[in-house]
């Protein structure tokens, strides 16, 4: 049985902040997990549209991230988006530390 790949939640968060920052013209370090998503997108349609950018970004594309609308339909904070990303990794053969 193949060994599970491992990635840290902090690294995923760093990647997520980088993609949000690039899309919204903000510094990644200024984006905090407790921020309301409506600071960055129209909620939830703008967040759902952002998934295409997220899934196809250089940060996540190599891992094949494929979030879908229902994963973020109830997301209201950056932490919810982070949880959705971590959830996808866990469900697709990764160990998230």
């Amino acid at each position: 049985m193949a060994k599970k790949k491992t990635i840290s939640g902090a690294r995923l968060l760093g990647r997520l902040k980088a993609v949000i920052g690039h899309s919204t013209n903000n510094s990644p370090s200024s984006i905090r997990v407790g921020d309301e998503l409506d600071r960055y997108f129209q909620v939830p349609q703008g967040v759902i549209a952002f998934l295409i950018t997220l899934d196809t970004s250089p940060e996540f594309r190599p891992d094949g991230l494929a979030l879908q609308p229902d994963d973020v339909r109830e997301a209201t904070k950056v932490s919810d988006l982070h949880d959705a990303v971590k959830g996808w990794y866990r469900n697709n053969g990764w160990t998230v530390t």
């Binding site: 840290s8 939640g9 902090a10 690294r11 995923l12 968060l13 760093g14 902040k17 899309s23 919204t24 013209n25 903000n26 370090s29 905090r32 997990v33 407790g34 921020d35 309301e36 409506d38 600071r39 960055y40 997108f41 129209q42 909620v43 939830p44 349609q45 703008g46 759902i48 549209a49 952002f50 998934l51 295409i52 950018t53 899934d55 196809t56 494929a66 879908q68 609308p69 229902d70 339909r73 109830e74 209201t76 904070k77 950056v78 932490s79 919810d80 982070h82 949880d83 971590k86 160990t95 998230v96 530390t97």
Partner: protein, 396 residues
């Protein structure tokens, strides 16, 4: 130009959440054991911990910050996979800050860890009360959209003609949606990811004090079917809406049947629905939609002013939104919307420009004052406007 003063009452449906602590949990903060949380440091630490799950868990010496030993405990716990939700996200943020910046901004710990206010997913019928149907799309949550307009009761008085006008503009709809059609989707292909059936009823009533002006009203009943299309090559997410409705009035005189189709995209690459930061605290986004509408008028009734029997309108609207953050909950909002429609039967063109500036009054941004300028022709009623309106807005 007419001038008017409006009192606006907006209604939205919202969901609230609450958290609770046991007596033993609260007692930890009574450091001098006098049976109460004293004003000053004890209360300050209690509030900090209440706002931040990560502080509550790791600030063992109750000094309100994460010390190096406590940060080491967070790093140790990172190896187990048990943390999730807000506390897990905040833990990841602390680790990221430690790795990237060798420090943790304490102010971020203090007020950013509150329990997320989860709202209902789709698959549940959801009731919306709005001013316009454009604010009731399939995936929209009732109160998560600050720019959605609520139902309105308004009063206006024309300073020149002395005409007083009361209006009621309200729309109620029930959204029955299914938002999980696939276990996996391919972001490189267009996929149907959700649908909704939206029965709705709309009421508009206008009552004027002017001699010779009659009361006018309309009631409209309809159903929309909406499809959510997600993915490339068109990008982002798109909503395709098919609708049919019937309009009458209080005395069942008016008779107008209507069928419509609308396409509305959201696209991060084009910044449609993405708030793009132009300067510190200043953000911009825009929205657009295309639609076509076939309308047959047997009797136009009192509310509308439609001389022809058949109309085939095609066109769309473009909306730009510019907001300036005053603080976390309050924005000054400038909205400009341009509508363009062409009737293929009469060759009539209807254009309407509406610009509104809104300034929040209370700390939560629920009350605001606004100034709106509207000029052009409303294609749904053929009414012409050159109107400046000042308003006091309240939304629940």
């Amino acid at each position: 130009m007419r001038c008017a003063v409006l009192i606006l009452i907006s209604l939205c449906v919202g969901i609230t959440s609450a958290t609770a602590q046991t007596v033993d949990e609260v007692r930890k903060y009574d450091r001098n054991k006098n049976g109460r949380i004293d004003k000053g440091r004890e209360l300050e630490i209690y509030l900090l911990h209440k706002a931040s799950p990560i502080l509550s868990r790791y600030d063992k010496n109750f000094n309100g910050i994460i010390d190096p030993e406590e940060a080491a405990a967070i790093t140790r716990d990172a190896k187990n996979d048990s943390l999730s939700g807000p506390i897990g996200a905040q833990r990841d943020e602390i680790l990221l800050d430690l790795a990237e910046r060798e420090g943790i901004p304490v102010e971020d710990l203090a007020d950013k860890g509150a329990v997320t206010d989860k709202r209902k997913k789709l698959d549940w019928p959801t009731l919306y009360v709005r001013r316009d149907k454009t604010d009731v799309p399939i995936a929209q949550f009732p109160i998560a959209t600050p720019d959605a307009k609520g139902a309105r009761i308004s009063y206006s008085r024309d300073g020149i003609s002395k005409e007083e006008v009361w209006t009621v503009d309200a729309l109620a709809s029930l959204v029955i949606a299914n938002g999980r059609l696939h276990d996996k989707v391919d972001p490189y292909a267009v996929t149907l990811t959700g649908y909704a059936a939206v029965p709705w009823v709309e009421m508009r009533r206008r009552s004027s004090s002017k001699v010779g002006a009659s009361e006018t009203d309309k009631f409209t009943f309809g159903t929309d079917g909406e499809l959510e299309l997600f993915g490339q090559p068109l990008g982002g997410v798109q909503y395709l809406t098919f609708g049919a409705d019937y309009q009458t009035d209080r005395i069942a005189k008016a008779s107008i049947a209507d069928a419509t189709v609308r396409w509305q995209p959201y696209n991060d690459n084009l910044k449609i629905g993405t708030w793009f930061t132009l300067a510190p605290n200043l953000q911009f986004t825009w929205l657009t939609a295309l639609d076509a509408d076939y309308r047959t008028v047997q009797d136009s009734g009192t509310y509308t002013n439609m001389p022809e029997t058949n109309y085939l309108w095609a066109g769309g609207w473009l909306k730009g939104l510019l907001r300036y953050h005053l603080d976390a909950k309050r924005d000054i909002m400038l909205t400009a919307q341009y509508d363009y429609r062409r009737d293929f039967f009469s060759k009539r063109i209807a254009q309407l420009l509406a610009v509104e500036l809104a300034f929040p009054l209370d700390a939560d941004g629920l009350t605001s004052v606004s100034l709106e300028y509207k000029r052009g022709m409303d294609w749904t009623t053929l009414d012409k406007f050159d109107l400046l309106t000042a308003g006091l807005n309240f939304k629940l």
